[in-house]
Amino acid sequence: MSSATEQTEADTSHEIGHDEYDPIGTLTLIGLYFVVLVLMWFYTYFIEFLGNDPTVIGSVVTAGGIV
Amino acid sequence: MRVSKAGLMVLLAFVVPLTVELRTVLAWFNVELTVLESVLVGLAVIAAIVVWATRPPKDEPSAASQ
């Protein structure tokens, strides 16, 4: 383990919720991932999928069934 | 070196998928790149990263962020 940091393996009292370690880098990465997912989902559903008409629709008889 | 050789290699590998899809994204803005042009853009980005990585680091380590 690196000796240059405050946190060492001996620091077994280290608990989540303590201020000693906040995974801010993880939050940053996962925040980026969240944004990418939202953008990609919108692109894939609304542009690729809905722009790929014609699409299977409920016929007159079956419309109003399970939605 | 600002990053380890292995770290640099991973960073450069990460450029590959970005370069491949850069064309698709640019096409949205009506910029049409040929294959050759995309390859050149990719090589330019890779060269820039290599130059950045091999320069001696500044004092503050935060400059190492991409």
């Binding site: 993880t26 940053t28 997912l37 990609m40 894939t44 | 380890s4 290699m9 491949v20 380590p61």
Partner: protein, 584 residues
């Protein structure tokens, strides 16, 4: 503190055997993958297109059944013995399951490979050109199905072996929490027992008697549904050992500690509960299943994202913990403080990164109506080459770089080459999988020897179909290079007997340990019952409605040999026309 092989020499021998077996299948599967990628993109076609499907069957079964599961049983054996700190209860049982799995795998492999050689002596046509999904009424030789069943029974016995070891540990340690690695193994195996019931019934009750001619007909929708009842949880069966390695090894390799033991337990419980009642999402476009059932399957599938989302945070936070202990700072620059020199770390981290991308295409696959866009298109192999083909396969390869020294006491041969191998895999898969996704969106089908049609083409939008094909072929070639490097490193390490490897086979304690986990998480009986209830809720009505009106054995549906030998031996085009004419 010593290596695994020092502590458990006999178990290490079994794990080594399992790994080497899995690598043999990886090598074969990889060769078939290269042949396929060059054939379908029309860069190199040296075989008849009918043989493509034999190659595809071998590629699928060898890689996703044999490679993954042989590696998995090795990892699970390591996890149980390491975390319980005791050997397996009875090595005769261990040898039994390894023997069963090997025999079953060999039988299935022989039937598949005999698709290349024509009639076998005495036994006749053994072929099994039915792909990994073996949808009826496509028919394989009965030996293929028997092989699969024996293989699965082998895994059942393996599970019993681990559970038995856990029980005897429990007797000695009545009040202790189940160690996390063992917890992961047991929850995964319970999921596997529930899931394999579907494929066991499909084969033993319906397909095998039918292929032996004891039953006249089969109900294709029923066997299909039973297959997917198994077919989705099986992907989590491949994935769970990879997750386990991310949870246990990545923090260790990064110099940190697991962020949260309790959340890891939650994740594995969620997988046990939700992996199985979702299989109908593979059947969104099947006639004969009502939309309501499909909607329920979608809801379950979407919630199955949750444990993977949680895993992403927990594992990355554990890596970040290591990076910060090694001097990493900032929002993103701590990434530079990760041990990229270590091939085991780099491979797993890149595998995790690709899994994030594959996760996105999985979310699309989970969506019900958007399935019209992507179903059975090349998008789907694009997706699962990121998940099983990278998140699992690359994690296993990277894991092997850590495991093999533990199992042999030999130092890893050439770390730089091993790092290069994982990076080349990443680059190759970037090209191949990305282009596959794109090709899928323009409607190019999967599982096709020649996706070039006479009367129509595909509209590529940006770029061209030729460029997509080139990217797929380039990616496939790079993946082959990567595989070659992997085998070189593995072989050199295995024979690297002069070196002395002494790193300890220990897992650092989590930041938030099991004492923070509610006791109920370890109540495996409760989770098993809940998992079964969820399966009953999700599947009883769809199965009843499929059986109702069609019967258990379907309306006179006879076996169909997908590639009769007469076809392979004559010119394909002529035969195809002839057969088509006859049917008309």
């Amino acid at each position: 503190m010593s290596t695994y092989v020092d502590n458990f020499p006999e178990e290490a021998a079994i794990v080594r055997k399992a790994f080497y077996t899995s690598f043999v299948f990886l090598a074969l599967g990889g060769v078939f993958g290269l042949i396929q990628t060059l054939h379908r993109t029309d860069f190199l076609r040296f075989m008849d297109s009918a043989d493509y499907y034999t190659v595809l069957t071998a590629h699928g079964v060898f890689l996703v059944i044999a490679f993954t599961i042989f590696f998995l049983v090795g990892v699970f054996t390591w996890a149980v013995t390491t975390s319980l700190d005791r050997g397996l209860e009875d090595l005769r049982l261990t040898k039994l399951w390894f023997g069963l799995m090997s025999a079953g795998g060999l039988a299935a492999a022989i039937t598949i490979l005999s698709g290349f050689v024509g009639d076998a002596p005495i036994l006749g046509a053994l072929d099994a050109d039915v792909l990994f999904t073996f949808y009826t009424p496509l028919e394989a030789h009965p030996l293929f199905y028997i092989g699969l069943v024996v293989f699965v029974i082998g895994t059942w016995v393996a599970g019993a072996d681990w559970i038995r070891t856990w029980w005897s540990w429990r007797k000695d340690n009545p009040n202790e929490r189940i160690p996390l690695p063992t917890f992961m193994v047991i929850t995964t195996m319970i999921m596997w027992y529930i899931a394999t019931l579907g494929v066991a019934i499909a084969i033993i009750v319906f397909i095998l008697p039918w292929s032996l001619g004891l039953v006249e007909s089969v109900n294709p929708l029923l066997t299909r549904t039973l297959f997917w009842y198994f077919g989705h949880p099986v992907v989590y069966f491949w994935l769970m050992p990879a997750y386990m390695m991310w949870y246990l090894l990545l923090p260790k390799l990064a110099g940190g500690r697991l962020f949260s033991d309790p959340l890891a337990r939650v994740v594995f419980v969620l997988f046990l509960l939700l992996s199985t009642p979702v299989g109908i999402h593979h059947q969104y476009l099947d006639p004969g299943i009502s939309e309501g059932f499909k909607f329920i399957a979608m809801t379950n599938t979407m919630f199955l994202l949750l444990p993977s989302f949680l895993t992403a945070f927990t594992v990355v936070a554990s890596m970040e913990h290591g990076a910060r202990q090694n001097g990493g700072t900032g929002y993103l620059s701590w990434l530079g403080a990760l041990p990229w020199r270590d091939p085991a770390f780099t491979g797993m981290a890149l595998a995790g990164l690709m899994f994030a991308a594959g996760g996105f295409s999985g979310m699309v696959n989970a969506g019900m109506n958007i399935n019209y866009l992507v179903h059975n298109s090349l998008w789907v192999p694009g997706h699962f080459h990121l998940t099983v083909g990278t998140a699992v396969a690359l994690t296993f390869m990277a894991g092997a770089y850590w495991f093999l020294p533990q199992l042999t006491g030999n130092k890893l041969w050439s770390r730089p080459l091993a790092v290069g191998q994982t990076v080349i895999w990443f680059i190759g898969m970037s090209f191949m999988s990305n282009a596959m996704h794109r090709a899928g969106l323009i409607g190019m089908p999967r599982r096709t020897a020649e996706p070039q049609y006479e009367n129509f083409g595909f509209d590529a939008g940006v770029g061209s179909v030729a460029e997509l094909d080139a990217q797929i072929a380039l990616g496939g070639a790079l993946l082959t290079v990567s595989l070659l490097l992997f085998f070189v490193v593995i072989a050199m390490t295995a024979f690297n007997g002069d070196s002395d490897y002494t790193e300890s086979n220990s897992i650092p304690t989590p930041l938030s340990g099991p004492e923070d986990a509610p006791q109920v998480l370890d109540n495996l009986k409760l989770w098993t019952i809940l998992a079964i209830v969820l399966v009953i809720i999700a599947y009883s009505l769809p199965l009843a409605s499929i059986i109702d009106g069609r019967g258990l054995f379907g309306p006179g549906i006879e076996p169909f040999d997908p590639i009769p030998f007469s076809v392979v031996s004559t010119t394909l085009e002529l035969t195809a026309e002839h057969v088509t004419g006859v049917i008309r």
